[in-house]
Symmetry: C2
């Protein structure tokens, strides 16, 4: 057969309970014809970079009714997520061979995307790594942008706390906050990450939460007058300590609660009455209805990247063989910066 090729895939072994392990996924290899099926309006893409995102944990478990916002992965099938791809063949007039796109794709070498209208085309320019479209110029960037500017109503002089601050989203929230004239402190889980926050991302300060037996005391050390804005990535004990330190009319953007996703029973948060006493607004958000703001975001952020006013740190795993470890590593904080899987450098 002409254009037949092997296609490595990352498969979910079974629904996951508790902390995911590398062995919950495995790599297999099939074959694939490098052509869109007759009559299809889909596109066939070569996957270049895949994004490892904490929300994917939710897709690794059996879904229950009313459970969440994403469909479960299917055991025995390749998992999927956001990625950067090059179009290899197209049955769709809006896409042609050679186009660069980002959007939901499979964790495999080649994917047939049957609904390409959800893909974003990449107008690639020199000096900006293509992998950024899995993070800074993809959903992590949009999440930081929407969560900080739309949900947190920031203003100059606000005090801002970011948890999981060196992660894909946190590092950007901190930099956006600095550009807005806020005082920003971040927490992370190692000395190396804390150094990154202070030296690379220019947070005003940062601490290693694993070395703080009393998170409330730690926050009081950095926020003697309290916190105006909390960008929530972790949940649990950290949220409880933050609530004690919020200021009147504080805003909490609930973006993620990564510390809770692998627990059978999430931790209890005890200090919610502070939401009343301090008139706090806590808002959960998903990107779904904010994607129309993507061009506006690019318009803002691309010049900042070119001028060096926004920097971005990625942690890359090479090859689909290392994809499972990279994804699972998110939940133990193994990654330093945005975790990317390189499927092919082209």
């Amino acid at each position: 057969m002409a254009n037949e090729t092997t296609n490595k895939q990352v498969i979910l072994r079974d629904f996951v309970v508790g902390f995911p392990k590398e062995t919950d996924l495995y790599v297999t290899s099939g074959t694939l014809t490098l052509r869109v099926p007759e009559g299809s309006t889909g596109v066939l893409v070569k996957n270049l970079y895949l994004s490892c995102d904490p929300y994917m944990r939710g897709r690794m478990k059996k879904s229950r009714p009313g459970d969440g916002y994403v469909e479960a992965f299917q055991p025995g099938s390749p998992i999927s997520g956001f990625g950067v791809c090059r179009v290899v063949d197209s049955g769709n007039p809006d896409f042609k061979k050679g186009d660069l796109v980002w959007g939901i794709t499979g964790w495999e070498e080649y994917s047939l995307i049957s609904a390409p209208e959800n893909l974003f085309k990449i107008k690639h320019t020199d000096g900006i790594p293509l992998s950024y479209y899995t993070g800074l110029l993809g959903i992590a960037g949009m999440t930081a942008y929407v969560g900080f500017f739309e949900v947190c109503s920031p203003k100059k002089g606000d005090t801002v706390f970011v948890s999981a601050a060196s992660g894909a989203v946190g590092q950007l929230v901190g930099q956006f906050a600095k550009l807005t004239g806020c005082y920003v402190v971040g927490s992370a889980g190692s000395k190396e990450k804390v150094d990154l926050l202070k030296n690379k991302f220019k947070f005003d300060d940062a601490f290693n939460y694993k070395e703080e037996p009393d998170l409330d005391a730690a926050l009081k050390r950095y926020f003697s007058d309290g916190i105006d804005i909390y960008f929530e990535n972790v949940g649990g004990k950290m949220l409880d300590a933050v609530l004690l330190n919020m200021r009147r009319h504080g805003r909490i953007a609930a973006c993620g609660m990564i510390s809770q996703y692998n627990l059978q029973q999430p931790e209890g948060v005890h200090n919610l009455a502070q939401i009343i006493f301090k008139e706090i607004r806590m808002v959960g958000f998903l990107l779904t209805e904010y994607f129309r703001q993507y061009p506006k975001y690019l318009e803002m952020v691309l010049p900042l990247i070119r001028e060096g006013k926004i920097v971005y740190v990625e942690d890359t795993a090479e090859g689909l063989e290392n994809a499972a470890g990279a994804l699972v590593g998110l939940f133990s904080g193994k990654n330093i910066g945005k975790q990317v899987v390189v499927v092919a450098h082209e």
Copy 2:
């Protein structure tokens, strides 16, 4: 001495830990000159009706820095709260003898109010009980009005759940929701209260939370398609069950968490990640900055009362001797409707 009178007072014995008891307060009697001191711009009032409010629990404990929004009561001194009073003597040009007012006053027969600019004047009209200014036409009414209309963004057809629904605020939220065209269910702690919700306040349905071993299942029974708006008065386990049943873009007005105020360690709430998955907005609010809307509220609510479209149930305790029991009873749900203390019928 001319115009000297006895003045019964309700005194806080000591800061309270855990559930308050009647014996945490005691009644004493002093004397008072029925005249504003020379040079004072205060007013001397005769207290008629006193309001028992859950937030007063927070004032019965020793305050810690950053603890909350209200000052602690002083052990050995009379406690204070909202009440309806008649001016007996005035050193202030804006008030004259005989005026009816409501606002913060002492739990005693007569009070000298040194900052009367915070009092609201009552334009009393026939057919409306004066005691309503401790509730329906006072802070409970304003709390229901602001919390429901400003915080919850209600629209016709929304599904609304109200906890502590027969209380001072809850009974009004339910009625406002019905007037808006919402489907409303309330929870309360006795059969009598549930009957009141269904028959008197015209909630679509109601249940006794004490008879529900599984609050999640109870909510699913009444909200098969989920809850758009939760008016939060209780916190703890109820909030946890509600989070599982909220709909996408749900709104939670955090008004009170009465089930938690007497606990040394508040209960843990485990399902907060639902705030993210369902894009929920949870907003704590206090009346402080909404008082300017009071005239607008009266304009809306007075005709509704006169037309019988809003009804109000009060539970009255007669005399300062019964005030401690009335206040403490709030925390075991003894009261049916708004708890008022009658100091004097005039």
